[in-house]
Every structure is written in structure tokens, then in C-alpha cells.
Amino acid sequence: MRCAESLRVQAYFDAEVDALSAADIERHLEHCAECRALLRDLEQVRTVLRRDSDYARAPTELRSKIMRALDQEGAAEIQVAEGAPASEGAAAPVGTATPEGTASPEGTAAPAGTASPRGTAAPQGTAFPMRTPRPRERVSPTWRMRPFWMGALGGVGGTAIAATFAFLLLLPRFANPLLDQLANAHVRSLMPSHLIDVVSTDKHTVKPWFTGHADVSPAVADFEQQGYRLIGGRVDYLDHQRSAVVVYQHGAHVINVFSWAGRDRALPADATRSGYHFAFWKAGDLDYCAVSDTGWDELLGLERLLRN
């Protein structure tokens, strides 16, 4: 017979409960041997799955096939966009895909929003506010027969809209050099549950995990003796690639070590911004940046260890 709390214990294991419920469940675990065993089982299944699963990646042929298909699709889109700029507007009639569940038309309070599966009886029958993303209607060839659209709106409207779009999209990118991206990524990582994707103090777990998740495979080592404890790894999108982040703890401080493919570009000088220090270096084909609010000595100490 299963303990009635087993689903909550699972939610606790999956980090889906708030601090209050967590404390509650921990109290329960103290006097429920069954749930303690369950927790161990969950841990074992996770270990085996993450260690031995097939982290398959999309085959190269599939990738290039998709790129070619997108090329064709893109060509059609451009012509359509010129012909009917209105479709870029706010009220896109088809395929309003909003996985975030903003303003679900059913009016059902999105049951998912907050991470508290505390109410163990989650509503089974609630219509989920996920809109099925339907493909936009296939471009009918008839638009080709309406040159009058293209003349009237396409010329002026389309160009104006395209220019605005391009401006808005390009602006933050130019104003966001690497340092900004790193600072944002570091600050974001410090928010609850964003720090680590793979929790492990074992470099033999962290390093292979990156093979399946990031575009690069950085140096991973534990320097516990020297005061830098390896606590896990993460992937952040940085400089248009999936950079690998190795996370260390030094005393009470978290040090994120970002790494990404270097592309022969000069790195920024070491810097301090908003109370965080940024130490950059190159090693092999990779660029590294260690970010933390530790002192410079501590940060550069880790850099020295990693470079050796």
C-alpha cells in the first residue's frame, strides 16, 4: 500500500514545491520509512536514466534537410509579407500559440502557472489552456494574382514595417555586448532553481552531460581541496550558441564558469560590473569567463587552476 503522501514526496524530489511545503514534506519523511525508500528509488532511477540514456542528437542529414525546407518556406514568406503586410500585425487569426497561457479563452485559471502541486488533487479534467499551434494557412497561390495589393501596401507599408522590425530587433543586440549577456546570465542563474541543470559534484557526470546539451565541452574539474567545490553544470544561450556553464561554490559564493567556442575574437578585459567580477581567458579553442561576487583573488585563483 502506498503512502498517501507519495505524490507530494515526488513533487518535492522534482523541486516542484515551495519552501513551506518542502519543510512539511521533510517532517513527513522523518517518520515515514516508506517515503524515504521512495525518495531513494526516485534518486536511483534518475541516476540511471541520466547516466545511461541515449542523448541522441538530430542527425546532420536531418538538420540540413530541415534547413533546405526552411529556405523554401522563407522564400514564400518574404513574398507574402510584401504582399500582405497586415498579416504581421497584432491580430493574427490562426495559430495563436501561447503556451504561457496568457488569457486563455476558456477562462480557466491556468492550473499550471505556479509551481505548487501542493494541492495533491490537481484538477484532472480541466481543459488545459494550451492552444494547439496550428500551421498558418498554407499560402494559396492566388495571391500572385493580386498585384494591386503589392503595389498599394507592399511598397510603402511593407518597407516601413520591415524597417521598424529590423530596428527594434537589432538595437538591443548591438547594445548588448558579451559582458552584458554574461552579467544577465549570471544574475539569472542566481534566481531560485536556475543555477544548475545537472547537479553533481562528480566531474565524470558533469562533463558527459554537456556532450548532450551544449555546443562545447569545457574543462571540468573539482578543486574541493583548494576551496572550489564543483556543484553542477548548466547550459546558457550565449553569443548565439549553447554555452556550457560549470558551477562552483567557493564559501558562500557561486562562481559560474562560462565557456563557448572562441571564433578567434579578442576577449574583453577583466572587468567589474554591478558588484560582479568577470575574468576572461582563452584555452584551446574555447573562450572562458568566470563570474562571481567573490574577491578578485579567489576568482583568479580558480582561473589559474582551470588553466593548468
Binding site: 532511477v45 541515449d54 536531418l62 514568406e77 509551481a115 502541486p117
Partner: protein, 181 residues
């Protein structure tokens, strides 16, 4: 390249591997997975302008799931009977070994094969939920979005699939030196 394509490549294509894995957990044959993923990416591209919010991965995987069920329905209409899941052998398809450690490599491969078989033997709705949680590391809310079931169902399916996998894994690896740590 136009702006939409560039944004699509930056925001959606990083999840191509996840989409591919997900399609393989859904599909019966690897070739099907390729078709499903390609169709899904095209649909995603067409619907990309209407994407609001930041959960691109859950959005893309939900599309993959839709494409899979469409493909399945078409297949059934054409009277192709899909193989039962127990016979679903994934051999002959490239497996990515993730271990850099040569001594353990062959044990690892055996374990990977065993595990792969056990996972394949799970019912589809259990397998997908389990893999989305453990391998794609999605939270309950995202899994509910992708699989279109309420969170409570996600939780019970997760519990059942974990228990089943654990029991079968113990059976398979019993007596072997390197069982579950």
C-alpha cells in the same frame, strides 16, 4: 537572411535535438521521427509570428506531439498497423555514447541497451512524461503543456513510470556487478 529566419534559428533551432529525441520516444520507427520533426519545424516556422512568451521548448515539443498524432492517424487510415511497443527495437540507430571513460565503455553500452529496451517497453504516455522530466528536465507545468494533460495526470504518470522502470531495471541487472548505485 531575413529577420524572422534569424530569430527562428536563434530561438527555436537550439531545441532541435530535444524535438528529435521527443519524436523518437513517440515514434515506432526512427524514420518516422525524422519526418515528424521536419514537419514540426516547418509548422513552428509558420506559426512563429504568433508565438508569445518564452517557453519555446515546450511550444515546439507540443507541435512535435501534434505532428506525431497526425502522422499516426494518416498511417492508420492507410492501414499500416504499427508494431506493438514491445517489439520496438531501436537497434541499428545511432546511439550517442556519452561516456569518455574507456574502461567502463562496454559495460555502459550494455546498460544503455538494457535501459533503452526497458524504456521502449513502457507505454507511450508514461515513457514521454518520464523522459521529458528526466532527460529534457522540464517541470510539471511544461510537461503538462507538451502532453496536454492536467498536472495531476503528469504526476501520476511520472510516479507509475518511475516505479515500473525501477522494478524492471532491478530485475534485469540483478546479480550484475554494476547495478544501480
Amino acid at each position: 537572411m531575413d529577420e524572422k529566419r534569424a530569430r527562428f534559428e536563434a530561438e527555436v533551432l537550439p531545441h532541435l535535438d530535444a524535438a528529435y529525441r521527443f519524436a523518437r520516444w513517440l515514434s515506432h520507427a526512427p524514420g518516422d521521427a525524422d519526418d515528424v520533426v521536419q514537419e514540426a519545424i516547418l509548422r513552428a516556422f509558420r506559426a512563429f509570428d504568433t508565438l508569445r512568451g518564452s517557453d519555446v521548448k515546450a511550444w515546439l515539443l507540443a507541435i512535435v506531439r501534434n505532428c506525431h498524432s497526425t502522422a499516426l492517424k494518416q498511417q492508420q487510415r492507410r492501414a499500416f498497423v504499427p508494431l506493438p511497443e514491445e517489439n520496438d527495437v531501436r537497434d541499428g540507430h545511432a546511439m550517442t555514447a556519452t561516456t569518455p571513460d574507456p574502461e567502463n565503455a562496454s559495460i555502459r553500452r550494455d546498460e544503455q541497451r538494457t535501459l533503452d529496451r526497458l524504456i521502449a517497453a513502457l507505454p507511450e504516455e508514461h515513457r514521454t512524461v518520464l523522459m521529458l522530466r528526466e532527460i529534457e528536465e522540464m517541470d510539471y507545468r511544461q510537461i503538462a503543456l507538451v502532453t496536454k494533460v492536467p498536472i495531476g495526470t503528469v504526476m501520476s504518470r511520472l510516479a507509475r513510470s518511475r516505479a515500473a522502470l525501477k522494478a524492471r531495471w532491478l530485475q534485469e541487472t540483478e546479480g550484475e556487478p554494476r547495478a544501480v548505485r
